[in-house]
Structure formats: structure tokens, C-alpha cells
């Protein structure tokens, strides 16, 4: 019955505890709606034929409803509406109240991607990994305009509002991959702001978490490793990352998009920055290099002039390696098509 109605109503599969609850009310409301439409429709059609006009200028009886009839007109719909309200509001309270033992995931919407971060470490972009059969609370906010986090298979939705956190929760019932859609209009690429929830079986989840922690640790060690103790990396960018860590760039510059003491490296290359003189410049290799050697020359507006010069502290190849490294830190493109696995940002 559930399967049949699900197909008939074009509903997506039910993959959360809330989905099952809300669909039950859906079936109840839709079937009463259909039946009452049919009843009103049939009554109307019957009346049209039974009481069709038989002669021009026909007169009719003066009919008014009795109090009993009027009472029925009010009480019948009211009875159904209030019943639905009681069921619906109970479910709404259910979805608005995350269980105390829920696992937290922070969700940040920005034009036009979703970022997820777990308190224990790893970050994800557009792909959210969660364990099955365990409540997950989402703490949602936005970096720019309104977005809305919607997973049709879970039947949950919550707006992402800049400047405040909203919350919702779900408990996925079966492992699989489910689409995330943005349902609050957010500009040009609103319809491309897609993501995925990957629900993992408990053992797979444990393995995934372990791997993420290892990866995070590895990244950190690599970044902090002494340049002289490891063989030269083949790629300039990797070398640049090590140099940058060594000389202390990351004390003031982040690579995850957050502005710190200095502008973030993420997406810096090619970005248009407003300088303190009011002039706009497009960040290129020349500007990055100059900013390393003479940081006060073209200062980005809003940041203090506190960076020391690296003139003489960096060799030519090291400077180039850092520039190359910065060039690789791009805002991930909005992906289309099937998932190609998670894209993780380096942890610093």
C-alpha cells in the first residue's frame, strides 16, 4: 500500500524516520481531499442535471439551510482540519526537536555550494557523510544570502540564514546516496547548488572516520615537516605549501576562505580585490610576489599593514613555489552530474 501510494504520488523513496511519519499524514490528507472533491463534484454534477432549467424565466423555491445544516458545514471540515493539525503538529515537533544524543554536523550554505564540518575534524564540500540509524543534527547557517537545505528522501528542509544558526535533524534508515537541493532562491546558479548525503552503514562509517582522521594528521605533518628532512617534492605547489608553512604564512592567512589577519589564500589568485587606496586590482602572480616582498605597497582594504617583508628570506624558487601553491587554492567549482567522491579542503 505504502509502495503503491508512493509511486502514485511521485514521492521519492523514504530514507529517514521522519519520511515515514510525514508520508502517513500525506496519504490521509490526500485521500480525504480526493474523496471530498469527488463528493462535492458528484453532488454538483448531479444537481446540474437534476435541476436543469426547463423553461425560460423559470422560478424556483426559496431554500435556505437550517441551523443544523450550517452546523454540519462548519463542523465537518473543522473536525478533519483539527485532526490533521494534531497529527501534523506532533510530527512537526518531532522534526523540530533533535534527540539529545544526536551527532552534530555544521552546515554552511554559500553561493552556490554546501560545506559540512564535523566537530571531530574533517570538512566536506557538497558531500555529507553520515552513519545510518543514528540521529544527526544539522546546525545550518549561510555565508551570504538565504539558502534552504532540502533532502527529498528524508523529507527534511531548513533555511540557511546568514547571521544565525537554524537546526533540523534526521535519522537515515538505509545506506545509500541521496540528493541535497537548495530550495531558497539564491541567485544565478540556484539550480546548480546540489549536493549529496552519503549514508554509510555503521562499520563503513567507522572506517571512514578513521581514514579522515589519518588524512588530516598526514596533511598536518606534511605541512609542518622540516623542509630539509624530506626529499624535494616533485610538484611546485606541494613544495610551496611546505615553504608557506615553514615561514609562517598560515599564522595570518587561512586557506579555507575565512579572512584572518590577512586575506585568505583560498581563491585569492584571479580574485578582484579592493585596495586601501580604493583601486580595484585583479590578483596575479606579480601582485602576489610584490606583496611578499613589499607588503605595504598595495594593501588590500580592511587589513592592517602588519606583514613583514620576505625580501631576502625567500629564494626565487621558494617564492615561485608559494605563488604556485596559492594558484592551486581555488574555490571548488560547482559540480554537475554524478558525484566524484568528496572534495576535502586541507586542514590547518
Amino acid at each position: 500500500m505504502n509502495e503503491l501510494l508512493n509511486t502514485f504520488l511521485f514521492l521519492p523513496e523514504q530514507a529517514s524516520t521522519f519520511a515515514e511519519r510525514v508520508d502517513r499524514l500525506h496519504y490521509f490528507v490526500v485521500s480525504v481531499t480526493m474523496l471530498s472533491s469527488l463528493a462535492v463534484g458528484t453532488a454538483a454534477v448531479f444537481f446540474f442535471f437534476r435541476y436543469r432549467k426547463r423553461k425560460p424565466n423559470q422560478t424556483t423555491e426559496y431554500v435556505v439551510p437550517s441551523v443544523k445544516t450550517e452546523f454540519l458545514f462548519v463542523s465537518l471540515p473543522l473536525f478533519f482540519f483539527l485532526t490533521w493539525f494534531v497529527i501534523g503538529f506532533r510530527d512537526f515537533v518531532f522534526v523540530s526537536t533533535p534527540p539529545k544524543d544526536a551527532m552534530d554536523v555544521y552546515v554552511m550554505g554559500k553561493q552556490w555550494m554546501w560545506k559540512f564540518s564535523y566537530p571531530e575534524g574533517p570538512n566536506g564540500v557538497n558531500v555529507l557523510h553520515v552513519p545510518a540509524n543514528r540521529p544527526v543534527r544539522l546546525l545550518i547557517t549561510s555565508r551570504d544570502v538565504l539558502h534552504s537545505f532540502f533532502v527529498p528522501a528524508f523529507r527534511i528542509k531548513m533555511d540557511a540564514i546568514p547571521g544565525r544558526y537554524t537546526q533540523t535533524w534526521f535519522e537515515a534508515t538505509k545506506p545509500g546516496t541521496y540528493q541535497i537541493l537548495c530550495t531558497e532562491y539564491c541567485g544565478l546558479s540556484h539550480s546548480k547548488m546540489l549536493g549529496e548525503v552519503v549514508v554509510l552503514a555503521p562499520e563503513e562509517w567507522d572506517a571512514w572516520v578513521k581514514e579522515q582522521r589519518k588524512g588530516a594528521l598526514q596533511n598536518r605533518q606534511d605541512a609542518l615537516a622540516d623542509l630539509s628532512l624530506v626529499p624535494h617534492p616533485a610538484r611546485m605547489a606541494e613544495q610551496g605549501q611546505k615553504v608557506a608553512a615553514e615561514v609562517g604564512c598560515f599564522k595570518c592567512h587561512t586557506v579555507n576562505g575565512e579572512p584572518h589577519i590577512g586575506p585568505t589564500f583560498l581563491g585569492l589568485y584571479g580574485r578582484t580585490e579592493t585596495l586601501d587606496t580604493g583601486r580595484n586590482i585583479r590578483v596575479d602572480e606579480a601582485w602576489i610576489t610584490q606583496s611578499m616582498m613589499d607588503p605595504g605597497a598595495h594593501l588590500v582594504a580592511g587589513y592592517p599593514n602588519v606583514m613583514p617583508t620576505y625580501q631576502g628570506k625567500l629564494t626565487g624558487p621558494q617564492t615561485a613555489a608559494i605563488v604556485e601553491y596559492i594558484k592551486t587554492l581555488r574555490t571548488p567549482d560547482i559540480r554537475t552530474g554524478a558525484s566524484q567522491g568528496p572534495t576535502y579542503e586541507p586542514i590547518q
Binding site: V22, L25, Y51, Y62, F89, I156, P162, E184
Partner: protein, 557 residues
Amino acid sequence: MSPSSSIAAEPGAVPAPDEHHEHHPSYLVDGTTVKSWLLTLDHKRIGVMYLIWVLLFFLIGGIYALIVRLELLTPGPTIIDAMTYNRAFTMHGVVMIFLFMIPAIPGAFGNFMLPLMLGAKDVAFPRLNLLSLYLLLTGAFIAIWGMINGGMDTGWTFYTPYSTHTTTTVAPILFGAFIIGFSSIATGLNFIVTTHTMRAPGITWFKMPLFVWAMYATACIQVLATPVLGLVLLLVVGEHLFHFGIFDPAQGGDPVLFQHLFWFYSHPAVYIMVLPAFGVMSEVVAAFSRKNIFGYRAVAFSSLGIAFVGFFAWGHHMFVSGQSTFNAGVFAVLTMLVGVFTAIKVFNWVGTVYKGAVDFKTPFAYFCGFLYFTVFGGMTGVAFATASLDVPWHDTYFVVAHFHFIMVGATIMAFMAALHYWFPKMFGKMYHEGWGLVSAALIILGFNATFIPQFLLGNAGMPRRYYEYPERFQTLNVASTAGASLLAFGFLISAIYLTYALVYGRRAASNPWRSRGYEWMTESPPPTHNFVGPQPTYSEEPHFYVEPQKAEVPDAV
């Protein structure tokens, strides 16, 4: 409520047209210069001018709708780019709501019929009436200028902070809507005062036609709610141009505050659109069933009830906007009450047909469509109000389909029914009944074919305002676009035969429907001052089709 015992031989009777015709030409020919139309103070001419303009705006909004539907034929880009698409759906919404749905029935038919139904010579403030038309046009042209020079891509809801950050032309369009608001307030004020002060002897409050009751309830909303829209639109314009920081969290503002203010107007605005439609249908069902309305007071009071409760339901637009759970519950229950009042009306309309004498003409065909859209659209509204069902449906195509059914479907059905029912009253010509029924059938079928797939798309999870969509949604989108073409074809047929009827149509009798609505108690088209000779008096309630000898035994069911 019980009918008066003194029955005239033919309540719908009209003074013999010939004897006064020389001295009292119809309003259509009383003055033929352009100036006599553009600067007229006659409510009927103003009504006709409103009709012409809202039809033009309907055409513009309809073209935008077709562009949107064509774009959605394929999952990827089809005919336009994303930016153009975003502007197109915004303009579809803005034009249809502010320039068609809100002014259409009150502006065109309210202006024309309200004084006639009250036995008055005109509305209370004829100059204000003319001003309201020109305010509408001023606002409309400023908004259309903005659409041509840049356009706007925020959606008709103008949600901040997107609307204060977008690079498109927000200011002129919002300012246009701000001016249109004054037009709406002026019309509302005029109708309230007219209803209170201009009723002819014999028309007590409970003998007023139900269309007047509906217009009265609408006018109350217009006067009370529209100022809030004006406020919020000005704040958005200010925020966009001068960075006030009221709604932008980066400056300490609150984007949800915008939603509260916006829906405080825009939810009652739904009833500004649909209550006049309910009023028209109360007239049409009585006239074409040839019966008094079943439960007159229930229908009249439910209009006021909807207008009142409508003010306290706005929070149901924010069930997933971070509003508290308690608020959601309160707004959910209050929204249910709107459903109850609407259900009272529906039952009473069906009850009106009971023991009637149904004349299945074009307006009655639209009544059938209306009944269906109201029941189905209204019930989906109640489903939304359960709060939990709103969570998956919110901002999906289910919402789009729901409000197109209840708000647009009901209003379009009523607008078309009014146009056909009052066509002989307004223009003294008769349209072709056969074509009327054909186009009504096409429009009702087309409407269903357009929006039933959208209900299903919403169930499947397709969000609204999507330029591209996952491929699994394509079949239903193609079905919806096909339905929209059928709908457009239906309107095209109507436009052709109505224009033909206007020019070449046969002369209609003064009361071709033999309706006993009050507005038919004068000639068609009426003379400039509506009534020839002394002001008429009204002995029975409107739509009183009882045989004189049976009049004293009301039959309660």
C-alpha cells in the same frame, strides 16, 4: 432575511428603453472624445479602462509564463540563459500579482458593478477613483521601465538579503509596486465609503448582493494591509541603494524580519485576489441556478471571517525559516480557520444549485471549474497548514501548483465568468455561446494539465525557481508545458470571439440572462447616471426567483 411579501410583477424589469433613450444615452456613447474617456469620472468608464489595462498586463504576464514554461522543457538550458530565466519568472510574478490579480476584479468589475448593485449613481469619490487608475498606471509604467532597463531577478517575494545585494534593477520595480499600493488603497477606501453611504433605499446590509460583501471585505484588507507592503518595499529600496542595514545581517539587520513584514501584507493579499472571485461566483451561481443563495449570511460573514483571520496566518510561510515551533503551531491553527470559512462558502454554493433551475451557460462552466480549483487548491492549503507536510513541500513545485490552483485558478475562473456574465451589461453585445463553452473547456483542461504535473513535481522534490533540473523531472515538466500551451490556446480563442462580439456581436437585450441581480435593474449598457428617473427602491433581496404566491413559505433544509 425573509423575503418581502410585496412582489413586483418582474423584479428584473427595466423601464422601457425607448421612451428615455433620446435623453439618456448609454455611458458608452455619452461623450466620444478621447478626453471624455481619459478624464471621465464615471465609474463605468473607469471600470472599462481598468479592464483594458488589466487585460494588457495579463497578456504581458502570460508571455512571461510561456517563456518560463518553454525554458523548462528540457533539463538543461533551452531557450534563454539563467539570468534571463530568473528575470522572467520574477516578472511573471510581479506583473500577474500587482498588475493583474490585485486590480483585475475590483478595478474592472468592482468599479463597474458596485454602484449599480447598490442603486447608486457613482462611487462615493469619483475623482479618487480616477486617480487610483492613474496611480496604477504610473506604478505600472515605472515598473515596466525597470523591467526593460535591467530587470530584476529576486522572485516576486524580494527576499532579503538577496534582493539588497543583487546587481539587477531593484529600485524602480519596487518603487512601482509601492505606487501601485496607493492605487489599491484608494480603491479600497472608495468601496468602503460607497458601501456605507450610497446604498439605495431598501438595500439594508443583509440585502446587499454578495459581490458587494466580498468587495467590502477585500477593501478592508486593502486599506489595512497595503501600507505595510509600502513600508517594507521602501525599506528594501533604501537598503539596496543606501545600505540601511535593517535586513542585512552583515550590518546587524535581520532577514527574517523582512519575511514577517512581507507576508503580513502578502498573505492577506491572497485574499485581496481571491475574495472578489468568491463574490463574483456567488452572483454567477445564483443567477444561473435561478435561485437565492443558500445560506446568504453564512457566505457574507465568511468573507469577513476570511479577511479577519487572513491577517493572522502569515507565519505559515515561515515554518522552515527558523521560526519557533510554538509560533508554527499557532499560525497552523489560524490557517485552518481560513479553510473552514472557505468550506462554508463551497458548501453554500453547491447548496444554491439544489432545487435550482440550472442554465449551463459559459459563466456557469467557469463556476464548475472554479468549484473544482477552490476545493482542491483549498484542501492542499489545509494540508500545508498541518506544518509537518509543509516541511517537504515548502518552496517546491507543490507550492507553485497549490497557489496557482486556489489563488490564480479561482481568480481566473471568476474573472472569465464575470467577463462573460457582465459582457452584455457592460457593452450591450452578446458573445457566441458555443465558442464560449469551447474556450472555457480548453482553459479548465489546460489549467489542470499545467498544474497537476506540478503538484507531482513538488512531491518528487523539485524546488521552485529552478533554471535547470535533474533529468528525472523532465517528463512531468514536459506535461506541464504542454498544458500551458493548451491554456494559452484557450485564452486566444476567448480573445478572438470576445473582440469579434465587441465589434460585430448582436445587440443584447437589457437583461439577457433574466437575472435578478440588482445590477440588472437598469438598462444595459447603463446610462451615464445609471438609473433613469428617481432612485429605485428594492423590495426583495437580490437573486429572488420565487414565484409570487410561494414567496411567503421559505423552505429550510
